[in-house]
């Protein structure tokens, strides 16, 4: 074969060597004026590493597509009968392949910094690439030494064993790459932070350079988390969307600190404040991302997602974590005091609101970390097995989310430096009627104090964001032409921020709505009608289907309201006989205000006494959770396309913007 597994293995080793050079040369060269020209090697090395790793990844994909079962990883995770799409996506559905994907994405980040970072000072870019190279080298070593995806198997089996039907799903296929891009993307702000610490200088320009990377990573992480939650909602068939599983928390924790980072970097960019804090947040976010991988990969926290239960891998990853996190934190402790403090501001000001956002987000993050880490630590120290679940996280995080939402609506209307709370509030008076309507609707439809409060405040966030945008456009008393010209001159990043805030409001509204979701588990004969949430759910018929490699039981559940048929749901229970596995195919009908969600369980009895177990859900506002996340990510993307970020750093424009704001 032209590009077989050995070549792939070699390319991986080559990438690792290039990464080591990418780390060592710029760091060494930047120290002395004599060798400074060598710093310019860093981008070339980063691109070289990217090419090597792409080839390596490509060769693994080729092995999977060509059914080369002499490669152990392919034999264990693929099979001849698997559809082509899942042969490709199955490459990263296992431990070895996912580590390789992780390093590939890290190399992609390095390549992106080389290509899009042309406006950066050479030394800074060299150092950023050096840090990325160092992290990359560590993970590639991990891949080569403890989890080699190209290991050969002799004798090669005739067919592979990897046909887990649960994993053959488009949602799961694209969930890891997007989530990993989010995780790994925070390596770039991290590298910027460490480079700034080495340099001993953080200024507004640094904030402007680091922010787009943080926003991009944040947008991907948002999408990744939402996709994972959506997958568990429509595949697992439990009607739930978030289980506070350690693995899920491991992605939520960096998202919380990452959100804080995206906001605090604004203060660095506009006002040169919160510099030390932003550097710390950048380090913390990537550290949490790394620990997230560690929690997933090592099996320290046992969970459905854990692939590896191999202690050698655990120790290697632990050492890697200690070097990266410990090293960067010690560097921070050593160099942070030399960074100068920034601009002054009053507690009530845009900066103050952003500080409040940071404090609250970090408090929520601390709660989630405690809830996630306390059980395994108690197990380790006291030998008691305990667990915490949704009740704990609900009770501890929602009271912190409420002030966050309140401040979120108000914050964007506050001016920089010093604000008058009542005047800013009058700017938002157009938001009051909408919020009151929201209050009435939430009162009517939701049950419980906390869901109603969350619902109202998220309506407030949406309304205030729209009101603030209307004020900026001069919609009140402005002509169409003036509004249009204002809309054009407004920076894309403000549009992006407004959109992201609206998205966050929509997500929280969806979450609050889900708290009043209703469900019923019934065992009924054909023709029986169940009443749930004001609708009649009738099991009209059952049929047996035969799929390509499974037998299925399919139900027709007619949902009607006052005799008027809304929809017919067709949930299935599939029995994959050769794998001894059954999967449930959920049937969902949505009208964007609620999901009608039906699952069929076991068949009981025979003949005329046959009954079927059904699980029926009426999920209020369920689609909003993921729609909001998508809008948040689009907002992030929109803010990335801002002119100021695309075209270098036009200092004059920034100076003007600072003066006017």
């Amino acid at each position: 074969m032209f590009f077989g597994p050995e070549e792939g293995h070699f390319a991986l080793a080559l990438g690792c060597v290039l990464a080591v050079f990418q780390c060592a040369i710029p760091l060494w060269a930047a120290r002395s004026a004599k060798h400074q020209r060598l710093v310019a090697l860093a981008p070339a090395l980063a691109v070289g590493q990217l090419i090597a790793l792409s080839l390596s990844f490509l060769s693994l994909i080729l092995c999977a597509v060509n059914d080369d079962f002499s490669v152990q990883n392919v034999a264990a995770n693929s099979a001849i009968a698997k559809p082509l799409l899942y042969k490709i996506t199955g490459v990263w559905g296992n431990h070895e392949g996912s580590v390789l994907l992780w390093t590939l994405i890290l190399a992609l980040c390095g390549g992106a910094v080389s290509l899009f970072g042309r406006n950066l000072p050479d030394i800074l870019r060299g150092r950023v690439l050096a840090i990325l190279g160092g992290v990359s080298a560590g993970f590639q070593l991990f891949c080569l030494l403890t989890s080699d995806p190209f290991e050969r198997l002799y004798p090669a089996p005739m067919d592979g064993q990897g046909m887990n039907p649960l994993l053959q799903d488009p949602g799961l296929a694209f969930h890891p790459p997007i989530l990993y891009t989010g995780y790994v993307g925070f390596a770039v702000p991290f590298a910027f932070a460490v480079a700034a610490l080495i340099e001993g200088r953080v200024d507004a320009a640094w904030g402007r350079w680091v922010r787009p990377w943080a926003v991009a990573a944040w947008a991907f992480l948002t999408c990744g988390i939402a996709l994972g939650s959506w997958w568990s909602y429509y595949v697992l068939g439990w009607g739930g969307y978030w289980f506070w599983d350690p693995v899920e928390n491991a992605s939520l924790i960096p998202w919380l600190t990452g959100t804080a980072l995206v906001h605090s970097a604004i203060v660095v960019e506009k006002r040169e404040g919160l510099k030390i804090w932003t550097v710390l947040l950048a380090i913390a976010t990537f550290s949490f991302s790394l620990s997230g991988t560690f929690l997933v990969r090592s099996g320290i926290l046992n969970s459905v997602h854990a692939f590896a239960n191999d202690p050698a891998r655990g120790v290697f990853i632990l050492a890697l974590l200690a070097i990266v996190i410990g090293g960067s934190l010690s560097l921070f402790a050593w160099r942070a005091p030399s960074l100068t403090a920034g601009g002054l501001f009053a507690p009530v000001s845009r900066e103050g609101a952003l500080v409040l956002n940071n404090i609250l987000l970090c408090s929520i993050c601390a709660v989630v970390v405690t809830g996630t880490m306390y059980p395994p630590f108690m197990q380790l120290l006291a030998g008691r097995t305990i667990s915490v679940g949704k009740p704990f996280f609900d009770a501890a995080t929602i009271p912190l989310t409420l002030p966050l939402l309140l401040a979120m609506g108000l914050g964007t209307a506050l001016p920089w430096k010093r604000a008058n709370l009542s005047r800013s509030f009058t700017h938002l008076r157009t938001a009051i009627p909408l919020t009151l309507v929201g209050l009435a609707l939430c009162w009517w439809h939701f049950s419980g104090v906390l869901p109603i409060a969350c619902g109202v405040l998220s309506v407030w966030v949406i309304a205030a964001s729209i009101a603030d945008m209307m004020r900026r456009l001069g919609l009140r008393g402005g002509t169409l032409r003036s509004v249009l010209s204002r809309a054009r001159s407004l920076p894309r990043s403000s549009w992006g921020a407004t959109l992201a805030h609206i998205g966050a409001g929509i997500t929280v509204l969806g979450l609050s709505g889900m708290s009043s979701a209703q469900h019923a588990i019934v065992e009924v004969p054909i023709g029986h009608t169940t009443h749930l949430a004001g609708d009649d759910w009738t099991l009209t018929s059952i049929r047996h289907l035969r799929g390509p490699n499974y037998n299925a039981l399919q139900a027709d559940i007619t949902v009607s309201h006052n005799g008027h048929v809304i929809t017919v749901l067709h949930p299935e229970k599939r029995d994959f006989t050769s794998q001894h596995q059954t999967t449930t195919e959920v049937s969902i009908h949505t009208n964007f205000l609620r999901d009608l969600y039906g699952v069929i369980g076991d068949q009981q009895g025979t003949g005329v006494n046959t009954t079927y177990v059904l699980r029926l859900h009426n999920n209020t506002l369920a689609p909003w959770m993921w729609l909001g996340a998508l809008i948040m990510a689009i907002g992030g993307g929109l803010s990335l396309s801002d002119r100021r970020l695309r075209i270098g750093a036009p200092r004059r424009a920034t100076a003007l913007a600072e003066k006017t704001s």
């Binding site: 046992n302 459905v304 403090a341 002054l344 501001f345 009053a346 507690p347 500080v355 409040l356 404090i359 609250l360 408090s363 929520i364 601390a366 709660v367 405690t370 809830g371 306390y374 008691r384 097995t385 305990i386 667990s387 915490v388 679940g389 009740p391 704990f392 996280f393 009770a395 501890a396 995080t397 009271p399 912190l400 010093r418 019923a520 588990i521 019934v522 065992e523 009924v524 029986h528 169940t530 596995q581 059954t582 999967t583 449930t584 699952v599 369980g601 076991d602 009981q604 009954t611 177990v613 699980r615």
Partner: protein, 175 residues
């Protein structure tokens, strides 16, 4: 506003928030921590009925039976750790990996009568894997030593259970 007062404000708000977070966490911990218990522990020290626990062990072979009350399917089975067996009733669909004679973890509360009402049943591990808590409990009670091979079938434990009265009264908790 001087630098000093600004710093004071920052410190005060940080402390207030962290204090709030710590308070919320502790409060939530005190009422929402879920302890893992084995059937013999539940027998010895029954937790109060409003306390959610995780009950883990093996499903006694032949103990699963189903009743339908008001069109709601209720599964009743026994969970044993070799010392004692607890009757569990669960209104809902058992997970696909649920098997008699295999390990299971049920989340729920102990009724005053001693029966266990589960709100969730977890059996998401494959046949070769036993939840850590269950394995530990088996080792602790001396029913199984992992050095001497696979765990015995749970059906045999029931007969190993010496004094314990494992015949259960059908506490029909329609739900």
């Amino acid at each position: 506003m001087t630098r000093k007062t600004r710093r004071l404000w920052l410190v005060i708000s940080c402390l207030a928030c962290l204090g709030l977070a710590a308070g919320l966490t502790l409060r939530a911990f005190s009422s929402n921590i879920v302890f893992f218990m084995a059937p013999s522990q539940v027998r010895a020290h029954p937790p109060s009925p409003d306390r959610t626990i995780r009950l883990g062990g093996m499903v006694v072979a032949g103990s699963l039976h189903r009743i339908v009350a008001h069109n709601t399917p209720i599964n009743e089975f026994q969970i044993t750790d070799g010392q004692a067996a607890i009757t569990v009733s669960y209104a809902g669909i058992l997970p696909d990996l649920f098997r008699e004679g295999q390990s299971v973890v049920a989340l729920g509360t102990v009724e005053p009568g001693g029966a266990f009402t589960a709100s969730e049943v977890l059996a998401k591990h494959d046949e070769t894997y036993m939840p850590k808590e269950v394995a530990e409990e088996l080792r602790r009670t001396g029913k199984w030593d992992p050095r001497f091979g696979k765990a015995p079938d749970a059906a045999s434990w029931n007969t190993m259970t010496s004094s314990e009265d494992s015949s259960h009264k059908n506490t029909k908790t329609g739900g």
